[in-house]
Symmetry: C2
């Protein structure tokens, strides 16, 4: 059994803070592509599904928006701006009166997230009141029925913890020296069960916090129904990361036991699975659900860039488990490993996409 | 004319962050004495002046509380807890129904405040939803009519900026190598005018944010009406700090010009002055106003402790103006200087106290 991996990840491993060369703030262009691709979907969903004039919404001139898993910016600011513009657009087209709307925007992420960087990066010309909300979105972080719009992008694919059986040598779902569900269906099943549990806790908390008539707009990574998730490009990339760690263990740089007790808590769901888990919560109706592929330049991925992108999101996890001293060497190896195994980028493995979901609180 | 001093201080110089030996979090026991002494006054003011059952308050079961100038904790958590306990007490004694109250607590301070330390220090067993609000309380930081209780302790004596004439060689209010209004009535007048302006902007912003029937509870440093504020113990201590800077300039460690362009933006008002400035805002009624002396052990102050206490609140200011390299030496000198000039602690100069004010939004 592992040591640190059994604790709740939700409070432990945020993305890299600050604004340095290996910060999330400077290396989240993949996430930005999702955010940019999302704009049209957000605008349409708000226009069609969010009823500003609904008498069930309190404070008719005040809209409260929360971004769950905001990280350090700047993507969260773009998402929030897109949401506000969509609401303003709808407000202008539907309201007879000329009352001005006010927006209270809440940026939520783990307590260990770098909120200082987030706050210092807030757009100076923003037309909303901003607040930071520390705490895991798998639990309650807002009072009852106070939110109108909940948003989450690139966050719900993070598991709140690694399932215990994955770290148990005596279990069929033991991941061994693999750090993901690469090629092991039992590990995949355990990840899937954890994801479903996490989505349930996320939705249960939001059901209490969102006013009747309010909406959740979220974006989560997924792959085709029935496609072997463990053979997606992203899972195979984690396979390459695992092989780097195994090499480093063979060279005596880290212990084998540390490799065995390490796993990446990221899971890609499928539209079918996601729909089923949402439907277990009777408080929400699924108003819209669609897949989209935000990636630009899909033919020839840049291995150095992909390596840095992974680094900014999992460096905290790696450092905590193996020590900070291995980080630089690991990601150098990983870049090289991807270049040597370019077949993982073959289009037949690239079955991942982003699932956009709009839910309405009944 | 000064350089950095002319910029708006409100966005620039928070207290020392983190949890280290020179952090505010570890050296705010003076402020804690104010907080502890305040508990009874808060409880009484809420019992008598805050009307939970007032139909003008929206969301009858949700109370929104904001602490303005929260710093990094732990004092803000004690204040908030005191307020919540006072409301719960009143709720239990006055409500027929057994509905549970929810509390949404907003911690406000300058954007450059160390919110990461604040969030990591949040009491794990708190029974409220917490949010951080970055931005100067001299401007709007909340939507209209959404707060029920505003609190501020040990913050409103900070001026938002040093008045321009204090830094102008050609003005009668030029402070020269003094860093405060020590012994110069014209400088004192300029500080007073800035304080009054700051209180006005604070109250104007809160008048919009607080619901009708809501209250402001605040604590601010003051001295007796008519007492020469420039001869209070605290102003004389700033005089000693100035003499340390002058010595360091004579030794060539810092430039004379730097000393001349530096001032400490702290002002102690008087009950009469404070009452007058509050009365210029027609939206609030003064419900309570009283002075109290929170200091324990007043006979023999500990110079080392006083020196560290000043350091944690103005180190940012000093570093920004003179460079971080002088901080250690300056505060060593300052401790020694206080020991050599112990007369400043004579009871006849110790005319400072804390003024507690309870205002109600009409």
């Amino acid at each position: 059994m592992a040591d640190v991996q059994t604790k709740n990840m939700a409070e432990s491993y945020p993305v890299n803070g600050g604004n340095g060369p290996n910060s999330y703030a400077q290396n989240s262009c993949y996430q930005k592509e999702v955010v940019d691709g999302a704009k049209g979907m957000i605008t349409k969903a708000i226009a069609e599904k969010f009823d500003i004039g609904n008498p069930l919404l309190d404070c008719p001139n005040l809209i409260r928006i929360a971004d769950f898993g905001c990280s350090t910016g700047p993507n969260t600011f773009i998402s929030v701006q897109n949401i506000i513009e969509a609401i303003e657009l709808k407000h202008k087209s539907t309201q007879q009166n000329s009352k001005t709307l006010e927006f209270h925007v809440f940026f939520n992420d783990l307590t260990s997230n770098d909120f200082n960087t987030l706050f210092m990066s807030l757009p100076p010309s923003r037309e909303y009141f901003a607040a930071g909300v520390p705490g895991s979105f798998h639990g309650r972080v807002f009072p009852k029925a106070t939110l109108h719009i909940a948003h989450s992008s690139n966050s719900l694919h993070w598991l709140s913890k690694i399932p215990e059986e994955v770290l148990d040598r005596n279990s069929l779902a033991w991941s061994g020296k693999k750090v993901h569900y690469t090629g092991n269906e039992k590990v995949l099943e355990a990840y899937s069960a954890q994801f479903k549990n996490d989505m349930k806790t996320f939705l249960s908390a939001r059901a209490l916090e969102i006013v009747s008539g309010g909406v959740i707009l979220f974006f989560v990574g997924g792959c085709e129904d029935g496609f072997l998730a463990s053979q997606t490009c992203s899972s195979m990339q984690f396979g390459l990361l695992a092989s780097c760690l195994v090499e480093m263990a063979e060279l005596g740089m880290i212990s084998e036991e540390k490799v065995e007790s390490f796993n990446v808590p990221i899971y890609l769901t499928s539209p079918k699975e996601l729909k089923e888990v949402i439907e277990t919560n009777a408080e929400f109706s699924i108003e819209r659900m669609e897949n989209f592929v935000p990636y630009k330049n899909p033919e020839m991925p840049d291995c150095q860039m992909l390596s840095t992108h992974l680094r900014v999101v999992i460096e905290g996890l790696i450092s905590e488990h193996f020590g900070t001293e291995i980080v630089e060497g690991l990601f150098e190896r990983y870049t090289k490993k991807m270049e040597e195994n370019y077949f993982v980028f073959d289009m037949k493995y690239r079955q991942e996409f982003v699932i956009f979901v709009c839910l309405k609180r009944k």
